[in-house]
């Protein structure tokens, strides 16, 4: 069986599992943060699971993906080991990036997840470069670069729209519009709130879809990647979504209206999709319960693994500053006499 969005039953089950894993993983991460085991910033994407999973499910495994600092979900959806992701959040030696990146800077290059980046808009040119490399090498990969509504006001993103349109690069600009740049609402930041229309000026086909509906997201991104792969042209997809939590764990989220938050919670992407799965008989209630239990175990195991993992040896502090290191003292950069 397949749906209008072209998702087979098996795909739909995988998508549901991925969404539920992200939700439960992030809720667990939130507990770890509150317990003081995760430092720095922790930006949760709870509420945005459909946008993340719908996008990733429409990509080929070797299509490069870049993201913002709210990217635990992208890493997990790409198949990164939940143990390694949680260990990275805890800053342990078994972490996905050896404890160097933390929550904001996950990468799993083997799975073509080219990273989460901490500067708003700063990763978009990297995604464009991955598209450039695909065209240069005549592979048929498509680069998907995800960024938020806030990033669309950065100059470098407009520069990338221009180059992508100018050179017809196989890139999908994916705007995950959660309607707030930290605490500033879209209406306070953007002259035109239909963000995808920015691409009209560069001749890039662009459209907006419901980012709370995983099948709608998947359908839109599948069309976008098809255009990039088969026609070699850039596209832009704006996903309208909502994050349930504050900007990060340190944001008490007092700015956003309670009624607004409640309204969006009623459209919860996981609950909505669960209804679709039951309604279309893709999964039974028992199937779903069993899958949720399995995911719970994975999340608990990831946390236990991370908590029991060793710290990163301080002796490794200066490792990996360079791919071709020039001495033993990368901190000073000097050959000491």
């Amino acid at each position: 069986m397949s749906t209008a969005a072209g998702a087979e039953a098996a795909d739909m089950r995988d998508m549901f599992r991925s969404m539920y894993l992200i939700r439960r993983f992030e809720e667990k991460a939130s507990e770890e943060y509150m317990a003081g085991r995760i430092g720095g910033f922790l930006h949760l994407a709870i509420g945005e699971e459909a946008a993340v999973v719908g996008t990733v499910s429409a990509m080929r495994a070797d299509d490069p993906l870049t993201s913002t600092y709210r990217e635990h979900g992208q890493a997990l959806a790409r198949g990164a080991d939940p143990r390694a992701v949680m260990a990275e959040l805890l800053g342990r030696s078994t972490g996905l990036c050896g404890g160097r990146g933390g929550s904001m800077h996950l990468m799993d290059k083997e799975r073509s997840f080219y990273g989460g980046y901490g500067i708003v808009g700063g990763s978009v040119p990297l995604g464009l470069g991955l598209a450039y490399a695909a065209r240069y090498r005549k592979t048929d990969q498509v680069s998907v670069t995800m960024f938020g509504d806030g990033a669309t006001n950065q100059g470098v993103v407009a520069e990338c729209f221009n180059m992508a349109g100018l050179w017809d690069l196989p890139v999908v600009f994916l705007i995950l519009n959660n309607q707030y740049g930290m605490g500033t609402s879209l209406g306070h930041a953007a002259a035109e709130e239909d963000l995808y229309t920015r691409c009209n000026a560069y001749g890039i086909p662009a459209w907006k879809v419901d980012g709370m509906d995983v099948l709608a997201v998947r359908g839109a991104v599948a069309e976008a990647t098809r255009i990039a792969r088969e026609e070699g042209n850039p596209t832009c997809v704006e996903l309208l979504a909502y994050r349930y939590r504050g900007h990060s764990m340190s944001d008490p989220d007092t700015v956003r209206d309670a009624e607004e938050k409640e309204r969006w919670r009623l459209r919860d992407p996981i609950i909505t999709f669960e209804r679709v799965l039951l309604g279309e008989a893709v999964m039974t209630a028992d199937d779903i319960a069993a899958m949720k239990a399995e995911v719970e175990a994975v999340v608990e195991d990831a946390a236990a693994f991370a908590e029991s993992s060793p710290e990163v040896p301080v002796a490794e502090l200066a490792d990996d500053v360079y791919a071709n290191p020039f001495n033993d003292d990368a901190r000073g950069g000097a050959l000491m006499p």
Binding site: L126, L128, G129, A133, Y136, R137, E159, A330, G333
Partner: protein
């Protein structure tokens, strides 16, 4: 060495040779920048390369420094070896986020999963009455950042040999040329002559005082050395060539022998290259020094337009002569 190789080559043509040879050697190498293809580059470094390698590998970009530098960093993460030309160092400021937050950090931040084998070339320096926004020396901005390699060639031979090394290196290399050197002629190496990073070179041996200078300032220092030699003072002029990595062994070895050091740097004096080198030398040579380390820098002002003011702002051979004489306690008559 063949006759051809011994023929003096201009600095810009030495760079051109390096680019041509590396483009021919490795299909992953490509060039991009403003006006580098059809226009041959603002300083004609990329002359003829479009015709030879085509528009896929010699790419004219829009005037969009942050965007194309970032794009090249992304392409490098995928394993290509982009060589970016920033028309002058003044414009690289627009791309600093990409260089400092992305290129310099990607290898470390992601636990060594991805490297960024990119070269970012640009000329710096003043002396052409281009005023404040077109006459800067920002070597120190890059030398400050772990994760970057910083190269400042002073001769055609170094321009070629160091650029070839830079292109083959797996890390982001900031390659800072100098507008005043593009016409400078000298011998160059062949296709296989690479100059390793982290090896300073003695440009003129001497015993009374060590003068450390890089890029165009090497030539200013050598002129000063001639003048000093006529007064019976032999200075040792050393060119570090690269600041990350830095060959402190050679610099400190010389200073320990002469007991005196003067650093000549076209950049500003505050917290810059000369300040950083002086700190290294104080730490390494304090007990050997017979006088505080002298420094000759660009004046601590935005570069003025008026010719006489500009010349007063830039380090001149006479400034170096005076600094050396003061350092060795002979004073200026």
């Amino acid at each position: 060495m063949s006759t051809d190789a011994a023929k003096p080559v201009a600095y810009r043509d030495a760079l051109n040779q390096a680019l041509r040879e590396e483009l021919a050697r490795d299909p992953d190498v490509f060039l991009l920048g403003e006006d580098i293809a059809g226009f041959d580059g603002a300083f004609k470094v990329t002359r003829g390369l479009l015709a030879e390698f085509g528009p896929e590998r010699v790419v004219d970009t829009p005037i969009t420094e942050a965007g194309f530098t970032g794009m090249a960093i992304g392409a490098a993460m995928a394993g290509l070896r982009p060589v970016v030309e920033i028309m002058t160092v003044n414009f690289v400021i627009l791309a600093m986020d990409q260089i400092v937050n992305n290129a310099a950090k990607i290898h470390y931040m992601f636990g060594g999963q991805a490297s960024v084998p990119i070269v970012i070339r640009m000329p710096g320096g003043g002396g052409h009455q281009l005023s404040s926004q077109h006459s800067q020396t920002l070597d120190a901005w890059f030398a400050h950042v772990p994760g970057l390699k910083v190269v400042c060639p002073s001769t055609p031979e170094d321009a070629k040999g160091l650029l070839k090394t830079a292109i083959r290196d797996d890390d982001p290399v900031i390659f800072i040329e100098n507008e005043g050197l593009y016409g400078k002629k000298g011998p160059v190496g062949g296709p296989d002559d690479l100059i390793p990073f982290g090896q300073a070179v003695v440009r003129r041996p001497g015993t009374h005082c060590t003068v450390i200078a890089h890029s165009r300032m090497v030539w200013v220092a050598l002129q000063a050395a001639e003048e000093l030699a006529s007064q019976g003072i032999e200075v040792e002029v050393i060119d570090p060539r690269t600041f990350r990595p830095l060959d402190l062994d050679t610099l400190a070895g010389s200073v320990r022998r002469t007991g005196h050091a003067v650093i000549v740097d076209e950049g500003w004096p505050e917290y810059g290259i000369s300040a950083g080198l002086a700190t290294h030398l104080y730490e390494a040579c304090f007990d050997w020094l017979d006088a505080p380390i002298g420094r000759v820098n660009c004046a601590d002002v935005p570069m003025p337009y008026a010719k006489n003011l500009e010349q007063a702002a830039l380090p001149q051979p006479a400034d170096v002569v005076a600094a050396v004489l003061a350092n060795i306690g002979r004073g200026v008559a």
